[in-house]
Symmetry: C2
Subunit: 293 residues, 2 copies
């Protein structure tokens, strides 16, 4: 299997552009990134999807292999303008798979900590898709999804990952009452960004997929979101696509904490990966009250 | 909400009994366990479900809270008779949730590394169940599941977690061809063990649930299993039950690596938690050939 130049280059050009990855000024052996407005939540704090993306890209850079999975634990916040240093440690290295740990730090502050792995898939290795994509209209037939973009329903905030990404709500046909959190969004990086590569990177998938608490809150019967405790992603084969369908679902919530899943589908029904996440849940009212205090 | 004495005691008596948890002889501040035959796979190596269980129990012990989630990365093996030291580090502590990291080591050898969290659920906090238990016969109407218990179909091996756990295959009614890996097993700790507590612990759930690669291989159209790269569990509310239904499903496999999920249900349809896992897959033929070399 011959790798294309894009596949051989780590970090991938798309990830460098998305995250602003560059060698750390004080240590050229470590990657780093500066927290820019498009890498934040709308409240100006570092976005969990960006932490997962950075961990995936740093794992690939440390091993030269493609990211297979990562669980990125969120520990502390980082503010706009701060530089996050990324240290990747290959804790086990095998013939076809490496196990990696990544720490993201601002000085002595541990912002996130990731465990994960990268792999060299075997061309003749076992393969399967265990799920089927839900029936939804295509992205051109879905409306822009403005939830959480603005607090007052008016102009979108000037900080947030919506600055470089786009989400459209895709109504699921034959939705079952048994799955009250089941919902879908079409997502892509803004076209200007996506031109860097026709192949979606694991990091870009992770960046787009951080939406699970919204589905968990929907299952709870409220409009809400969550503070991520982690972002996890498990990755299938490569795919050339710009739009990705985020099929979100709730698992269980209890005592104000909840868990759920997101399948990431290409438009032609290929399962590109699956994310899971745990979060402390809050309602939109909680969120607005907290920000206005 | 008043905690019962059992809930206040960390590590929980059930986990102490299951894993043999005790203070480390060289450092009473750290927990440890000795790798016994019931904590192994049938090939005599430390079982991934036991590593996840140890990480969950150590997280609870370090924080006094109930385990909410853990991703336990498998790094190296440990052999029967070796003592694994468990070091838990609370990396963030909030009003209702702590973020924790746990390392399992034998001397300088890092056996596993976990990121996770523990929480104090709020009685009035958001709650929901986003899924419905599949229709299956009860455990009394299901046959013992001998797969992987013996290589030759005869007597079970003398090493393995089957020494203290029991699994029965539960055929799913209305199984869909869209989900080729979808399958279910009733599981419990052997009755002699389960008497320590009527409440299943997060650790015991994690111990029972390490079966996902079997469903992923089934989706690939082969009988097989996998070498776990991690074991992850996200936990709902407490439940008093002995039998747990493991509802297994495949997500995606590519190039010999695969990912999937397990929902853990109480017999009355309460979702106790959800596990996910990535693994290097192999067929049973591969496994037998490897062992006979």
């Amino acid at each position: 299997m011959t790798a294309s130049p894009d596949e051989q280059q780590r970090p991938r050009p798309l990830d460098v552009e998305l995250l602003g990855l560059e060698p750390h000024p004080d240590d050229q052996g470590a990657l780093s990134l500066v927290v820019e407005p498009h890498l934040c939540r709308t409240d100006g704090r570092f976005y969990g999807g960006a932490a997962l993306a950075a961990a995936l890209a740093a794992s690939e850079s440390a091993t030269g292999r493609s990211a297979l999975w990562s669980t990125t634990q969120m520990i502390a916040t980082a503010e706009i303008g701060e530089r996050i240093r990324l240290d990747a440690d290959v804790v086990a290295s095998g013939r076809s798979v490496d196990q990696v740990q990544v720490r993201g730090t601002v000085g002595d502050r541990l912002v996130f900590s990731a465990v994960g792995g990268t792999a060299t898939p075997r061309p003749d290795g076992l393969r399967a898709t265990g799920q089927v994509m839900p029936r939804v209209p295509g992205p051109d037939d879905c409306d822009d999804w403005r939830r959480l973009r603005s607090d007052d329903g008016a102009s979108p905030p000037e900080v947030g990952h919506h600055l470089i990404s786009e989400h459209r709500e895709a109504p699921i046909a034959d939705r079952s009452a048994d799955r009250p959190g089941h919902m879908a969004l079409w997502a892509r990086l803004s076209p200007a960004r996506a031109t860097a590569s026709p192949v979606m990177s694991p990091a870009a998938l992770g960046f787009l997929a951080d939406m699970i608490p919204i589905a968990v809150c929907r299952a709870c019967g409220v409009e809400g979101a969550g503070t991520s405790l982690d972002n996890s992603l498990r990755i299938g084969g490569p795919a050339e696509t710009d739009w990705v369908l985020l099929e979100l679902d709730a698992h269980v919530a209890f005592g104000g904490f909840g868990h759920g899943l997101v399948h990431l589908w290409s438009p032609d029904g290929e399962l590109l990966g699956t994310g899971t996440q745990s979060a402390r849940l809050f309602t939109i009212d909680d969120f607005v009250n907290r920000r206005s205090r």
